[in-house]
Every structure is written in structure tokens, then in C-alpha cells.
Chain length 370, copies 4
């Protein structure tokens, strides 16, 4: 039952990369939330490949259908089923891979667990699986919009070791979307694009880091000790294809500081009541949001499909080689941006409802004086 995520606001995704449909059922959504297929489509369009040379040339129309749970533009409080049809499936395209394990793909491990594999393509290990996440995330965004003024902005922060310069306090979605590479630092965006196109030309791929900020999250979200907000964010991110690392706040760099250097001094804050002078905590302390921007990063390895001959084994365990062909992303990062945002929205919506369930609608007395 590993295709379900969330506790009160809960999604269940389905669908392989080819054949049938890919989608999601959102259960536990509050009623009377404004939701349209168009709002979902906007997010799906950001995820869609085939829109630039930076990504796979697979053509996916991906028109979303809302099949339940919404009437007259409002949620009913019942399960919301959303899906898109798989129209660009080429069943025969993967025949040569049926008995050979692509290096650093999930072919071997899928066989090891299930003893059967989707005949065409990567099945649930395909990036196409993320359609359901993004559709569910769009519903989560609608829920968050009904609860407060939360802004979630992700961007490509690093490609192949080259890093952009972006201020998480001010970065906007518009700045991110201004460039196909989804990096709001124009100079870095140009460098990243060049690096990705170079990789494409070489039949190779590159990885990098997506960073994300969530501003406007009220203090107190998270449910220690296991469902700490950062723990659920970490799970959300590591569940993404190709993710190999996660940081919140100062992350690995913070381990190099002393406690005195690292601590975030609390300061009176006219807007928030209480703020911190620095934000090495990344907006989360003790697993609970503290009202400051939530800052996190995800490391994505380079895509495994490279157009070079590589050593591998077949499903008889014999050594062989493979040289993949077809259509693939030289770099997943630009398309990962809306997916990371979707997962953040899902975690926040769930924890906001959980807060309301355990604590109530009005926040408790956070400050004696107020």
C-alpha cells in the first residue's frame, strides 16, 4: 500500500508509464474549497515534458479530468479522482529491454520484488508516475489557499556542481518561470542551460539540486516525534525518482559551524510576533514550523539513461551490454521544480489539517502577552 501519502489529507496515486491512465485519488479534502480542472492543468503543464530541448521529447497532452468530488467548482469533501490518459504510449519501443537490466534503473529491483515487470518502460518507476503527485499537489495548493497565504516556490539551484545565487526570502514563481531551466538567477540559468545542452549533445546527463521555500506557514505545524514536519518533508522528497539527498535549513553545511555560530537568535517581529535573526533552522525547530520561511533542498542524481554502451546483466544473470535509445531528459531538474512544490504542498496541507484536528482552529496562546 505504498502508493498512499498523507494522514488526514491523503493521496493515492496510480498508473504506469504506458497504457491506461495515470492519476490520483485525493481523500480527506475539506469541503467548499474552490477547485477547477484549469488550476490543476496549470501545474500539470509545468511538469509536462516535450516543451523544450532541455527535457524529454515525449509528447504528452495530459489533459486532466476530475471524475468525482467536485461540483460547481467546489469540493464536496468526498474523494476527488483525477487522471490523464496515456496517449503517447509506444508499447513495442521497449522490447529490447525486456530481459536486460538498465544500469541504475529500477529494472532489476522491480523483478526482485515483484517477479514481473511492466512490459513497456519503467512502470511505476517512470517519471510519468509523478503526474498523480502534481495533480494531488494542485488540490493541496487549493486547500492551503483556503487556509492562509502560503507561497511555495522551488527552483533549480545547482546543476552539475555549478550553483546559482538566489534569495529564498524574495524569490518568486514568476522569476523561476522566466527561464525554461527554472532558475531565477539569469546568469546561472544561462550557464545551466548550456551545461544541459552539452550533456544532451554528448548523449550524457547531469544532476543537480532543487531548493524550495515555503513562506507564510504558521508556527506549530508538525507532529513529533516521528511525523515531524521535516521528517515528512524528507520522506516526500526521497520518494521522488532520482532523489539522493535532502536538507532542511543549514543542512550539511551547518554541521561545520559551532552551536554558538549556528543558533538562530529569537527577535521580536512585528509581523510574526516572534521571528529569528537568522534562519539556519530552515523554519523548523524540534520538528515544528516556527513561522519563518521553510527552506529545503533535494539532490537529484543525473538521469540514468545515457546513450552509451554500458556493462550490465540480463535477467538470466549473464553479463551483457546495453546502449539505450529513445527519448529521455538530459536533466530532470527543470521538471522536478513543480513536483517538489507539489510534495511540499501535500505535506503542508496534511499537517495543517492535523494541527486543526488535534489543537483546534484558533492557535493556542503562543505568547502570553497576546
Amino acid at each position: 500500500m505504498g502508493s498512499t501519502f498523507g494522514h488526514l489529507f491523503r493521496i493515492t496515486t496510480f498508473g504506469e508509464s504506458h497504457g491506461g491512465a495515470v492519476g490520483v485519488v485525493v481523500d480527506g479534502c475539506p469541503p467548499r474549497v474552490a477547485l477547477s480542472a484549469e488550476a490543476v492543468q496549470v501545474e500539470l503543464d509545468r511538469r509536462r515534458p516535450g516543451t523544450s530541448l532541455l527535457a524529454s521529447q515525449r509528447q504528452e497532452a495530459d489533459r486532466v479530468r476530475i471524475a468525482s468530488g467536485v461540483e460547481g467548482g467546489l469540493t464536496l469533501g468526498s474523494p476527488i479522482a483525477l487522471w490523464v490518459e496515456n496517449t503517447d504510449a509506444k508499447p513495442g519501443a521497449y522490447d529490447e529491454l525486456r530481459h536486460v537490466y538498465r544500469p541504475s534503473h529500477a529494472d532489476f529491483t522491480t523483478d526482485a520484488r515483484y517477479g514481473i515487470r511492466s512490459a513497456s518502460g519503467g512502470g511505476r518507476a517512470s517519471a510519468r508516475e509523478t503526474v498523480g503527485r502534481v495533480a494531488g499537489g494542485a488540490v493541496a495548493r487549493a486547500v492551503l489557499a483556503s487556509l492562509g497565504a502560503v507561497e511555495i516556490v522551488a527552483w533549480v539551484d545547482e546543476v552539475a556542481g555549478d550553483r546559482a545565487s538566489v534569495d529564498p526570502e524574495t524569490v518568486s514563481r514568476e522569476a523561476v518561470e522566466a527561464h525554461a531551466v527554472r532558475c531565477p538567477d539569469p546568469e546561472a540559468a544561462a550557464r545551466f542551460e548550456a551545461r544541459i545542452l552539452e550533456a544532451r549533445k554528448a548523449g550524457d546527463t547531469v544532476g543537480g539540486v532543487v531548493r524550495c521555500v515555503a513562506r507564510g506557514v504558521p508556527p506549530g505545524l508538525g507532529d513529533p516525534v516521528f511525523d515531524k514536519l521535516d521528517a515528512d518533508l524528507a520522506k516526500a522528497m526521497l520518494s521522488l525518482p532520482a532523489a539522493k539527498g535532502f536538507e532542511v535549513g543549514s543542512g550539511y553545511a551547518g554541521t561545520k559551524l559551532t552551536g554558538l555560530q549556528h543558533n538562530d537568535a529569537f527577535v521580536p517581529d512585528p509581523a510574526r510576533g516572534v521571528g529569528t535573526r537568522t534562519n539556519r533552522s530552515g523554519g523548523i525547530q524540534g520538528g515544528l514550523s516556527n513561522g519563518m520561511p521553510i527552506e529545503l533542498s533535494v539532490a537529484f542524481k543525473p538521469v540514468a539513461t545515457v546513450f552509451h554502451e554500458q556493462d550490465t546483466v540480463d535477467d538470466a544473470g549473464d553479463a551483457t551490454t546495453i546502449r539505450p535509445r529513445g527519448r529521455h531528459d538530459p536533466c530532470v531538474l527543470p521538471r522536478a521544480v513543480p513536483i517538489v512544490e507539489a510534495m511540499v504542498a501535500l505535506v503542508l496541507a496534511d499537517h495543517w489539517l492535523r494541527f486543526r484536528g488535534q489543537i483546534g482552529e484558533a492557535p493556542p496562546i503562543p505568547l502570553r502577552g497576546t
Copy 2:
């Protein structure tokens, strides 16, 4: 309900840092597994502070009691309740902190969520909470021992930016335990100890990185797409106090390689059937174990309690300063080692049982030829 972890093999922890007891209920444990209080005590003793100058001088006897679920040294299949008494509680010791928020602690966020705080100490945000995890992890180890020959070894790999040199293929628990700092590289261990004692002397603290390897894990563990093995490991690690980052396999460093450089070539392997020439995947591909050693790291920030005056606010929102006193760890890393291992054991035991539930006891036909 955030104090429950796991799906089939499931723990629920309880207990604040002072007063009463801290413990765990383990539910879903297979029956007829050999389990003794002594085996649990061994792990708790590794977690216990007060054993060297490297850690807090708090004296905790921490004798574990198994109150249910075990008879004649065997598990019954019913819930196993284990706890230790809080004997070294000093209720008055924290009075001065009652209305002042310690920087980078959970004091403020706890108030923000619950509107009430444990009068003495950090409540559930205290490191003492991990007693339940370690006790539950000891049960998980016993379950794993009944299922196969899994070895889980964690160590302090980095302190304040200084890194040890350790081979995850061969590192042993004995080597780790040989030095109080729990680093199996003797030269690094000496440097780490010096650095920690220096911090202690300065009333400051240091952070670092714990690495962990799990060898002997069969291929196929993990439940995509959300309960991927690395996703659940990430959640487990980020739920730990002071954790700010997580990596599996090549992690952030892997984002600097190209796909061709990063891919792990499959090779025939006499022992495993199929192996990989390199292990940048960290033993997990597509969210499923592949039979290679599982390798992960956790970033721990420096402990927030430093014996220096710092700016902060009180619970009326007014600016003030605080200068903590008392007993605290200058560095959590040596004590984090058994805790990281415990969380890995919990994730693996749960996913092993989940594998058996969905797939069956005998692995599916992973290789046509076998």
C-alpha cells in the same frame, strides 16, 4: 498520533525528559523471536549519556523493563511494552527557562503548537525521547536476526567539517566501539575527541555527520512510490533530534557527476546473483533494495545549548537574553550512532514484513536462470 512509526512492525514511543518513564510499545512483532531484556539493555547502554566527557554528565541508570509480549525469552506476537524510569529528574532545574525561549530549541514551537510546555526540560524534544527508539530498535534487530544475516553499523564520519576515512564494505561494530567517539578511523577519532573537548572547554558545541551501512539486506525491500526504502529511511533520520540532512548512496556529491560517471554497472556476482561494480546507488534503486550494502548519512547540527549569553525573547514576545547552565552534550554524534542504527533496524524490519505480506516468504523469480 505522531509518536507511532512503522506499518506492520510498528512502534509507539512515550515519555518526557523528566518525571515518569520513557518507553515504547512494539506492535506487530512476529512470534517466537528470541528476545531478552539484556539484549535491549546493551543498546540502551550505548545510548546512555554520562559515560565519558564527550557527552552529557546526566546520570541515567536506564534499566529496561519488558512488561508484556515476551515469555520464556520468546516473543508472543502480542504488543511488547518496554520502558525505563526517569530517576535523575531535577524538576526545579529548568525554572528559569519557563518563560524564555532557548534559541534553536523547540521551546517556542512547542508553545506555538500545544500552548503548554513540560515544566522541566525539553519534554518530547529532549534527546531522552530516543530511549524508546533504541529499545524498539533492539526488538527490530532481534526480528532481523530471525530473518537473515543483516549487519547494521553506524559511525561518526565527520565532526565540525573534519572527515574520517572508513570503508563501508568492511567497517565493524567492534571497530566503532573501540573508541568513545565511535569513529572506527583511529586517527580521526583522536582528532574528533580533541575537537569535542575543545568545544566543551569553550562552552560551545560541534556538529557532524553519522554514516551507516546495512549489509545483507535482500533485494526487493521497499514499497514504491511513497514508501520507497530510502524515503522511509529519510523520514526515520530526519525525525531524530538535531538532524538537518540525509543522503543515500552518492547523495549531494553524486549531483556533480554525469550519468555515465554515476551509473552502477551490473555485474554477475557469485554470492548475490547480481551485483553492481560501484555502489553510488547506496544499495537502493527505484526505492527498492538491490542487495548491495545500503549506505546513508545523517547531518546533525551542533547542539543548541551553548553556555554563552544569547539574544532571545520571552513568552510575552519581549526581547531578553539567556545564558543556559546545566549538563549537556558538547556533541551528540557519538550517542547518535546507536540511535541511527535503531532507526535503520526499525525501517528494515517493517519493510521485510511488508515484503513477506505482499509477496510471500520465498522471493519471486528474480533471475530467469535460477
Copy 3:
């Protein structure tokens, strides 16, 4: 998140009575189980109204589509999404009910919880919701067939206080399906049919009791203390529309016996190893199956839609009257038979996998001598 059922074998249903589609996502299904759309269709056809005068004349084609999780007639181990389109929706048909609460329907309580109602028909409170259950139950049947020789047979045992005579040890699906009223006692079936048609003619409705037996269930299924097998069956049954009661084994009648009269003596049994002379336990003891036939019953109240004027209130709280029109079942019981079977199959499949997860594939040593 109340539209999810099951723990390891888990379904999430979706869909309102009108507009869009109704369906289910089955997650946690074992891989390599034979499954066809035809097998699912057979069960859906049994549930479908419009097939006799005994049921609603609503015409539902209800052709099921399997959109994921199955390839080449075998399950992949990934989520299986199945749905049918709502083709006979008449959106305007319910306009007159928009502001008036039908007595003993869910109109008022739906408003009370969600503050919004599906504009047409009963939304999720409609019997149409059970399409997803039956489709999911068909998958559960396929899983059970891959595990053992379980037979699940339900039948209409009582209508409006008139009771049939049926032997649960021998009753067959063929005998049940021989009559449109789904009672395998031919004389009772004729009486039941006459009673239902009489109610239809009077614009009234009748209730009754469905009984169900599951034969071939191995001993040991169930997970005390809360997920006892009978507890999960009770939940499954009371979640059905119009269900008002549940019995396992001797049920309410058993409360009139003394312990000495009620006890089921154990006897050596060549086939089962251990059997019981009587089966007042209904195949479940201490919440665990004991290898004897599982016997249960469900009480269904008479359908609330009667074609008579009745007192009620509108959604301003003012007194008014209502006289429903349209198409409805004079008696849900014949159509409830496949739905009850589906829920039993879902519970058994889930608990069989849970048994395998906690205990292993081979049953433990139930008898010293074997």
C-alpha cells in the same frame, strides 16, 4: 480519508451517484495474480440494478475499465485503478430535493458535516458508491483464489421478518443465483419475491437479513485485539448503506443460551486437523479464524425512499412535506448479496496478507503432533 479500507490489501473508492465516474484504486495487491476485466465485470453485473422488477429500474451499463496495475492478465503489484462511467445521470431529476431533507436519508447529515451537497442524488450516500467496493472485492477474490480454496457465498435469508431455511455448510453460489431474489431456498424465494412486489405496488419498501458464509479460510486470520477478524467484518458490514446490525456465529440468539449449551466442543477432524462439533462461534474464536466456516449476518433496514407524502424539514429548518418520485429499489437485499461477498473478500484478503507478513507463509506449528 474515510474512503480507504484495509491495511496491507487496501482499497480507496471514489465517485458520486451522478456525473463523472465511480471506481476504486486497489493498492498492495500481490503481483502475478490472474485478473481480467471480465472477472470484475461478472461481479459488477450481479450488483447492477435494472435487471428485474425487484430492483431499481435505473439503467447502468457499468462496463469496467482497468486503467493500471495489470498487464497481460497478471497483476504487477502496483495500484490497480478500476472504474465505470456514470452514463445514466439525470442531473435535473433531483432539483426538488435540493432544499428538502428526505427522511432517513443522508441529506441532512451531509449538510451538517460538509455544508455542501451533491446537487443531484445522494452523492456518496447513494448505493452507486458500492460499485467501487464490488470492483475491489473482485480483485480480492482473485487474490484469495491464488492463496487457497476459499468459497464466499451470501444470500437473502430473511425479508420483512419471513425467514428462509438454508444450510451454510452446503449452500452454493449457483443455488443463490438461481432466483432473482438471491435466496437459495426456493419456497422462501417465491414468498420473498411476492413480498417485495407487494411493497413495490404499495410504493413502500421492505428490509431483511443477508447471511454469508466463507468456507476454506485457514485458522489464524485476524489481528487482536482491535483488528479481530470479526471486528473488521463488522466494520465492513456496517459501512454498507442501510446496514443496521451485524452478527457472527450465534449472534443475538446465542445470548439466550448458557455457556454449557453454547460452547463448541473441539473434535479431531480428518480434513482440518481440529474442528468443532457445532459452530456457534461462527468460525471465529478470540477474533481469529478457527478453520470452520465463517458465518455472519447483516440487517438491512427498509429503503428510505417510499412514494408517500412524509413530514420533514427544509434546509431553513422549517417544517414541510416531501413525496419522492423516481426510480428506486423496493428492497436492497438481492443486490446487497454481491456487495456483502465483496466486503468479506476484502477483509479476508487483507488479513491473509497480514498473517503472512507477521507470521510467514507456512503456518506455525498449530498441533504438536503434526
Copy 4:
């Protein structure tokens, strides 16, 4: 993991009948709820045997200890661990039963599932397991008291086929507690007592029916389609030892009425806004509370331990006989009353928090006019 119950307000119970302790961890409790050990003790004392000839003579002091989650008489929002020691254990007392299966007990099925049994007594199948439920239920009561004016009253309504006459609209806890048999109809109470003592004298046992009413429950609790309020109540009740049946509202008797007879007409209600003229729905429509009293019943079979020789088999599968000795209840019903109430409280507290989580603190606009 079958020892956990509830979704947001969640309990995990533990403990066998002999040795160690029995208790519960309550997770997800709202903070700042008044809770004392005394309030819990009151409920445990009602459950305790040995207080009259009507029940087992086992002496259980059962002093509860709250080991976490409460400070200064207020909940902290963290897990609340409560337990009582097993002080009256007589390990050797059950030696003769080690290899013989008591008829209609869980001895055989426990072996069939776990392959191991608690050496002394019924393990988790013992009624002693319900200590954890009652302690958890006392916490649920405290939560409900903080949310509204809910009254939960259960009573013994029927013994061995003899029925009392009780008005669920007015019955009070005081009336129930006035007689040791816990029946508020004094004449019936006298008859029940005589019948139970007669059974005791004959070395036999009797069963019966407990009814329960919950008044003051707001409309809208329940989470269709699977977590309907009556579905979760049914599961709660059938998880109790010796429970064989469950009814809500009109139950089985309601199946004998026509729809026209059965429907509850809505009427304007000064106190509730909307009420119903009759309450055959038992306060629940479409799985959601409607503001009327919730009415349910539970059928308890006669206790299986009768002091007569009975046919059975041993754990080698050979025929033998057994004649139990010791201390046991001739009738569980009086002691079942607080346990039924506890389970109702647990279900209501969980669903109240779930309502608040999905819907918010203020109920939606249930009536246009208000």
C-alpha cells in the same frame, strides 16, 4: 499491529493477563485537557472484578499510573502512557491447560496463529486486556468533556433472553450504578441477579445484551464511506471479548418494518435545530451523526468457562476432556458496561477530532436559516 485503535485520537494497548503490566498509550490527545489519575481510576474501578458475587473473585488492585503526557493535571499533547501492575498473577494455576484447548476459548486459534501461547491464562484473549481500553476511554471522556456536553450511558439490557425496560432518552449513570448488575430497571435487575447467581451455582454462565446511548453528540461526526460512525462503533464493539452481535438504532427488529413505518420524520427542534420524531436511525444517518441520541446494542455470548467436563482436543490433535477450575465470571455483562462506554468514548473523541481536522472548528452552515 492490531493493538492500535483510532486515527487522530489513537490508543495502543498492551499486556497479558498475568505477569508484568497491562496498559495503554494514548497518542494524539489535544493539549490542555484536564486529566487526573483519579478520573481514570474511577472507570477502572467500575471494570474491576472481585467486587460482588456476580463477577470473578480475582482480586485486582489495579491502581493506575500515568507515566507521561500529563503535567499539573493537564495534558501536554504528547503520548499519555497509563498502566496497572499485574499483582494477582498465579503463574502455575493454568499448567493443566497448557496442552488442552478450552472449548470456545482462544487457546486453539492463538496456537494456530502464533505457534506459541502465554503459559498462564488467556494472554491477550483474557478480559484483563480491557484495562487498557478503559484507561484510554477515560482519557477520551476527558477530551469529550473539553469539547461539549456528551453523556455516554450503557447498561445491561438483557440477560439470558430476559429483557429490561429502559428509556434511552433519560437513563442516567446513577440509575445504572445503583445496582451491582448495572441494570437501571430495578425489577429486571433483581431478576438478572437471580439468574446470574443461579448460573454461578450451576457452574454455568449466561450471556445477554448491553445497550448504550450517547447524548449530546453534534451532527456530522463520521467519515463515509468506510469510517462511517456506525461502522467504527461496530468494529469497536466486535473487538470486545465475547461480543457476537451489534445493532444501531432499530437493528434487526427494524428489518421487519416497511420503509414507511421505519422512516424517522424530520421535525423542527428548538434545542437541536433539526430533530426527528422517532429515532429508528439510532442517531446516525448515512454513517453520520444527526444530533439525536446514538443508540446501539452489543450481544455478549455466555462466558466459555463452565465448571463441567467437556469434550475437546489437546495440542496433539487427540480427543480428550476438560473440566475447568478457578475463578471466573458467571456473566460478563455488568463489567462490560464500562468497557462498552469506553469504546464509544474512544470512537467519538477520534471522530470529533477528525471532523475538526477536515471541516474546522465551527460547524458548516447546516441550515440556511441559521
